[in-house]
């Protein structure tokens, strides 16, 4: 029996835990959030992704209660949370700076929220021990925050924000201060903990790799608006705009005009003297419409002989970037345009087939690229 795919957003009967309804937030003249509507579901690991200043942190701070929307409403389990102060919300936040209390031990940091609820002593200590186990910090319970490493501090911050078992956990760039290797390890740890506790996580990040790794859905934001919300695979393979295609991963963007259809295939004229590109549109384009053809470098093949493919373009190797596991070839076309093609280096010590200034052929299938309006 196939495992059920976790996708509550496709089920119309599912009730979202958070609903942003036409939320706008202005700071003076500056509009941080612009008429934004979105639903987030229980047990989701939801990532807000965007460049700095796109409004993702403002969204999170509104959920935590540190900012109130200028217009619109935010519902948490169906209730408007605008009048609820931050200390009364069933929402906890993990701060970018971790915001650990430097005068308290790790144990007391984790117990801080529980004690504010006036819970009985043994319940507090039981819960703290549980959190310490979950984040593998048992050995450090008596230390002060300045006596542990950055990665451990990150786990303390996580344990502290999870201790009160919030309905919703907000994570503001939680891994920003860690180095790359530790960040990758911690990403999987985060996912593990999210699954174990069943808490809804909303993570803010500007690191697209991080968002793709951990999230069940990613919202790509720009200038206070959400451009696209989808699963990581959909965001990558089916971006809805050149902005999203360009923001997530590497992409070749070719601008052209629709010239005609062959069944469900569309032909695009994009440069004088070059063969037309054949692609598969997922919406209607009339003849003469501007089309942006977006194709990922790993879907472009490179060969020395003209291949038998719906799309084949000749060019010259301009640059080679060797990254160990893959190589990226920058191929210059007749019009001066550069197209990137990626090949996996799946054999050790093989002679590289192409070098600088070689004449090569680029090819891709008629379903490899995405045709975008904007």
């Amino acid at each position: 029996m196939p495992q059920d795919v976790f996708a509550p957003w496709t089920d119309p009967n599912e009730k979202p835990i958070i609903q942003f309804q036409n939320v706008t937030k202005r700071f003076g003249d500056f509009t941080a959030i612009d008429d934004l509507t979105i639903d987030i579901y229980e047990r989701e690991f939801f990532a807000l992704l965007g460049p700095s200043g796109c409004g993702k942190t403002t969204m999170m701070r509104m959920l935590a209660g540190f900012e109130t929307p200028t217009e619109g409403t935010i519902l948490l389990s169906g209730q408007d949370i605008a009048p609820v102060p931050p200390n009364k919300r069933a929402v906890n936040m993990m701060f970018q700076s971790y915001a650990l209390f430097p005068h308290l031990s790790i144990w007391d940091n984790i117990a801080f929220g529980l004690r504010r609820d006036k819970r009985p002593k043994d319940e507090v200590s039981q819960r703290v021990e549980e959190m310490l186990r979950l984040t593998r910090l048992e050995k450090f319970a008596r230390r002060k925050p300045h006596q542990i490493s950055g990665g451990q501090r990150q786990r303390v911050a996580l344990a502290r924000s999870l201790a009160k078992a919030p309905k919703l956990l907000l994570l503001d760039e939680p891994l920003g201060a860690l180095d790359k290797k530790l960040r990758q390890e911690t990403q999987f740890e985060l996912m593990d903990i999210q699954e174990k506790t069943g808490t809804t996580f909303v993570i803010v990040t500007h690191d697209q790799e991080e968002a793709m790794t951990v999230a069940s859905r990613v919202a790509v934001m720009d200038h206070g608006k959400i451009i696209q919300v989808a699963t990581p695979a959909d965001i990558y393979e089916a971006p809805n705009s050149t902005y999203v295609a360009d923001f997530i991963g590497d992409v070749n963007l070719i601008r052209g005009k629709a010239t005609g259809k062959d069944g469900d295939r569309l032909r695009i004229a994009w440069a004088e003297g070059q063969p037309e590109i054949v692609g598969t549109p997922n919406r209607e384009f009339a003849n003469g419409d501007t089309v942006h053809f977006a194709i990922r470098p790993e879907k472009v093949a490179i060969s020395s002989e003209k291949p038998d493919s719906p799309n084949a373009i000749p060019g010259k190797v301009h640059d080679i970037a060797y990254l160990g596991n893959i190589s990226t070839y920058h191929v210059e076309l007749a019009g001066g345009q550069i197209i990137k093609a990626q090949t996996a280096n799946n054999r050790r010590i093989s002679r590289r087939s192409f070098t600088w200034e070689d004449n090569v052929w680029l090819s891709f299938t008629d379903t490899a690229g995405v045709l975008l309006e904007t």
Binding site: A64, G65, F66, P85, P86, N87, K88, V91, N92, M93, F95, Q96, S97, A99, F101, P102, H103, F112, G113, R116, D117, H146, R160, S161, K164
Partner: protein
């Protein structure tokens, strides 16, 4: 072994340099002093003496340096550089303290200087033993016999403690407000706190007399507002002393607290609120403990000088204001009893050593946390 030789070499060079500086000072003082009036002959005499002393000093330094092997020069220079502040401490703190301690062990005398014994080096070894055999702890015993002294110490402690608490109560909200002010305002506010230092401390205390006296501005204001019908008697009471101390030492309280509060990360308060604190409990659980080091530092900076304060109680206080600084002054200048005055000073210093050590320990702890 090497380091000992290096140290000895450093000492020799240092001593020679000090000898040179001192002989220059002696020479210059004969020029400007009575020696100059004695005419050319004596100036010429002291000039030859100075030339000889300077030559000895320069020669010693030159010879030691010349015969020092190359690899030793660097550590010796290093020692000299490190030694300079210690020399400073020795000359400006330890030597005066030893002098005061010696006077406190002497007896008062109608002479110049007004105490005995004085060291008579001409009498040789016997002079030195006589000198030490005449020193005793009489004056310290006297301090315990007359109740004026311990009452003055106690009253000083009380006044210092009360005014430290008052300064804290006034200073903390100011520091808090400053740390919470918009960033572009902070430099100006800090400037305003330091601004009173631009005027002489004495003038500022005098001007309080004009404010607090019976015909002073404060009474005029209160009477014109109809709040009081009779002028209040504030000047020459302990209240005036407290006002003066709080006013004078307020910056010393504000600055360390401000620097502690300014460092406080705003996200800590947000985190406290996020975890269920009200604004008030976030203050008590986060702001207060994190500004503790600043409060302690500020309190010591107010308490330590207040304990020995002399100007404020003598200008603003009345005859009933008993403070050890005033007693010390009277012992020295009215009574001309230098030995007892010195004993009072030594005991005051011993009392102050305790808070100073505590203060240092607090600073040390802070540095460990910051580091």
């Amino acid at each position: 072994m090497r380091s000992i030789t290096n140290f000895a070499t450093t000492l020799v060079i240092g001593a020679a340099a000090i000898y040179g500086v001192l002989s220059t000072y002696w020479f210059l003082s004969t020029l400007s002093g009575p020696g100059f009036a004695l005419g050319f002959a004596s100036v010429a005499g002291s000039l030859t003496k100075f030339a000889l002393q300077a030559a000895i000093s320069v020669a010693v330094i030159y010879l030691v340096w010349k015969f020092l092997s190359e690899d030793r020069k660097e550590p010796v220079v290093k020692n000299l550089l490190i030694g300079t502040p210690y020399l400073w401490l020795l000359a400006l703190f330890l030597v005066p303290f030893v002098i005061v301690l010696k006077i406190s062990l002497s007896d008062t005398a109608l002479a110049i200087p007004p105490y005995t014994p004085t060291l008579d080096l001409a009498a040789g070894w016997k002079g030195i033993t006589d000198f030490f055999s005449e020193l005793d702890f009489e004056n310290f015993v006297w301090l315990t016999e007359d109740d004026l002294y311990w009452k003055a110490y106690l009253s000083s402690l009380k006044i210092a403690l009360t005014s430290t608490i008052l300064t804290l109560l006034v200073g903390f909200p100011i520091a808090y407000g400053m740390a919470r002010a918009p960033t572009e305002w902070r430099a100006t506010l800090l400037m305003l706190v330091i601004l009173p230092f631009w005027t002489s401390f004495l003038i500022r205390v005098y001007s309080w007399m004009g404010i607090l006296s019976q015909e002073g501005y404060l009474n005029q204001l209160l009477m014109s507002l109809g709040l009081i019908s009779e002028p209040l008697i504030i000047l020459n009471t302990n209240v005036a002393v407290y006002i003066g101390i709080v006013y004078t030492y307020l910056p010393f309280m504000i600055l360390p607290i401000y620097s502690a509060l300014e460092k406080l990360d705003g996200s800590l308060l947000e985190a406290a609120e996020d975890l269920g604190c009200s604004r008030l409990s976030a203050f008590w659980l986060v702001t207060a403990p994190l500004s503790k080091q600043g409060v302690i530092a500020g309190s010591f900076l107010v308490f330590i000088p207040t304990l020995g304060e002399f100007v404020i109680p003598s200008l603003l206080g009345g005859s009933k204001t008993l403070m050890i600084g005033k007693v010390l002054w009277e012992e020295f200048f009215s009574n001309r009893d230098w030995p007892v005055a010195s004993a009072v000073a030594v005991v005051l210093l011993l009392i102050l050593v305790i808070p100073i050590i505590l203060f240092q320990r607090n600073e040390q702890k802070q540095r460990e946390i910051d580091g």
